[in-house]
Symmetry: none
Subunit: 210 residues, 4 copies
DNA sequence: CATGAATGAGAGTTCATTCAT
DNA sequence: GATGAATGAACTCTCATTCAT
């Protein structure tokens, strides 16, 4: 019924909206790959369109600029990471499992998205670019709130929560990147390593399987 | 004696070479600022020249591309960091002072260069670019060798030295950046924090002054 | 029937393709003139665009470089010359008419294109450039095959066919050029001259009308 | 004496003039090579200087532009060819030896200069450039005067002397070029071929050694 | 005179963006 | 709404030329 007449062309209204969604998704996917390959600053709108099979003009029906695309990607990434991190923290019974759960979740996500993150490393001899935009970092910011809560409760020493956050982020991104580079490291192992380092320092680190 | 007065044949030559050195420095300085402002990928050679009062063609008397400028900046940075890190490690009597000395030195250097590093953060919605190019990383690689040595000697548990390196780098850059952002943190405090985290985990962290 | 009226969907498309064809032709025409005026080596892509009323970027929608334009011009020229030369040779009953037909055809074609070829000479103190690119030469190469055939058949002495070809080409281009320069020489006269020279040497040359 | 004091530097006056002559020659030699390699239109002053070990500024002490260099080269070439052609013509007892002597002399000269002329061919797929500038052609123009003289005397039929000249030039350059390209052709053979063609047409051509 | 760095015009080319189709 | 050619600004880089040394 709905398909019978309102659409003058062959495509029913629903089809149109599907196409729109597909085009938008195609642009976002292409942009993720291209940003990773060329770096954000160096990629041009044309680079993004080229990685798509859309016409150049079509891009502007969806986004005004590469900045807007970037924003959209980040929003989507944050949307995937943040709820999971939050759920993890809420569920955690103690500080230890709160830390291990956070690392674990983070490594899970980047492993799932490894194709996007992986290409980011291939720019040999070049500057590394990390997707730690404000939006992504914001996910960790909630974590700081919890750190501060833990300090209040006496579970953690009354330390500089901002620096602890920074250290957390640094280890998460850096160890995560190695995990993606290497083939012999599981998400569990990476999470275990980071967690032990945070809980007990180098002396507490897991023995290498070797 | 020969150095006392202006030899008519030598003075001019000296003038020329001085100008060249000045121009080269002007380009490097401008590049540092512009890279920081626009991000490495987005800056063009013209952006660099514009930040200078040289003619466009002059750039190419000194560098072939922005990549080469970047390389030169990094080489200079590495040249300042690596010898100091190496000296530090050699001097260190035990693993603890080896770690603390390394963090301390690293934070010292980036604090000294804070104007370069600081501007790098201001690119609001943009991807952060880190100056961890191969050359800089190489400085840390020597550190990995020492980590492995420490493991051999039994000073450290037989853990994954690659991941330990990664964690080290992550904390150094991330905590270092916070140190530069904030006005209430000394090099000593940042180094103390990072060192304690590495040696004893979060429980060992220093109490905040507050 | 289907061709009778303007299909609202097709008319626009046709317009586009017409414009494209026009632009391509405009570039080729401009290039012919500019190559002739400045010489091939000295003309720049921008010179070609300037001789057009297209925007600079438009050039690159059609050609990648001036080399490619040049190629296109030659292909078109060869396409006009070669089939005619071939037909001529096939039709020729004996060696004499084969030679006279070839000269005649060649002069015919360059006379038809005289506006292109003529301007080529005006570059006063400059090196002359001849449009004897591989493609054009290839037309003559077929002629060499026929020369060799004629030698096999005993119609021609067993001489150096490569040199004979060279002489043929030299005379064709050089006499052709004079023909275009002068106003008192018809295609027929030029062909007659060249043919007689080839068949009987200077003693056989036609008497000047004077 | 002359060396003792007027020259403040170590070089005596004579030395200076020698140096000047050397520099001028170096530029001309370099230009010959470069013109041949890149084609006249495409070569830049810089290309010429680069093929020299002089500084860029030095060029302008000798020539104002590449046009001027070109002029100088042609003058020199004409100076080498024209007197020889003239001597040849004067010496020739009859029309036959006049033609054969001219071809012979021309092929002699380009063979002597084969390194310059040879490189001219290597520009595969590119437009061929010939050094038949007005100056060089002028050498042949004197030949036309002789042709007309021969016609007056009745040695030659009263034909179109301009076309005969053109044919002469065409064969000379084209056959000459083949001679340089091939390794199995002597100057004598090439001259013999061209001469026989002019004197008796294709039927009179020399039998190939094969 | 030789030198070679500085200059800015101008080359080739790509880009973001528009808009007729 | 999709298309893709046109546009001209802007980019990378080279050039001819000058001139302090």
């Amino acid at each position: 019924m709905t398909e019978k007449e309102t659409t003058p062309a062959k495509a029913p209204r629903r089809k149109r909206e599907e196409t729109k969604a597909e085009n938008r998704a195609a642009i976002l996917d292409a942009a993720r790959v291209v940003f990773a390959e060329l770096g954000y600053g160096a990629t041009t709108v044309r680079d993004i369109i080229r990685a798509t099979n859309l016409a150049s003009g079509t891009f502007y029906n969806y986004f005004k600029s590469k900045e807007e695309v970037f924003q959209a990607i980040n929003d989507a990434t944050a949307l995937r990471i943040r709820p999971r991190l939050r759920a993890e923290r809420i569920r955690a019974p103690d500080f230890e499992s709160f830390i291990s759960g956070t690392f674990r979740t983070f490594f899970d996500v980047i492993y799932f998205d490894r194709h996007t993150f992986a290409t980011m490393r291939t720019q040999a001899h070049q500057v590394r670019v990390r997707f730690d935009t404000p939006e992504v970092i914001a996910g960790f910011d909630e974590l700081r709130a919890d750190i501060e809560l833990a300090i209040e409760k006496g579970v953690l020493p009354r330390t500089d929560s901002d620096l602890l956050m920074a250290a957390f982020v640094g280890v998460a991104f850096e160890v995560g990147e190695r995990m993606l580079q290497r083939e012999d490291l599981s998400v569990a192992q990476a999470a275990d390593f980071a967690t032990k380092l945070f809980l007990g320092g180098v002396q507490a680190l897991p023995r290498a399987p070797n």
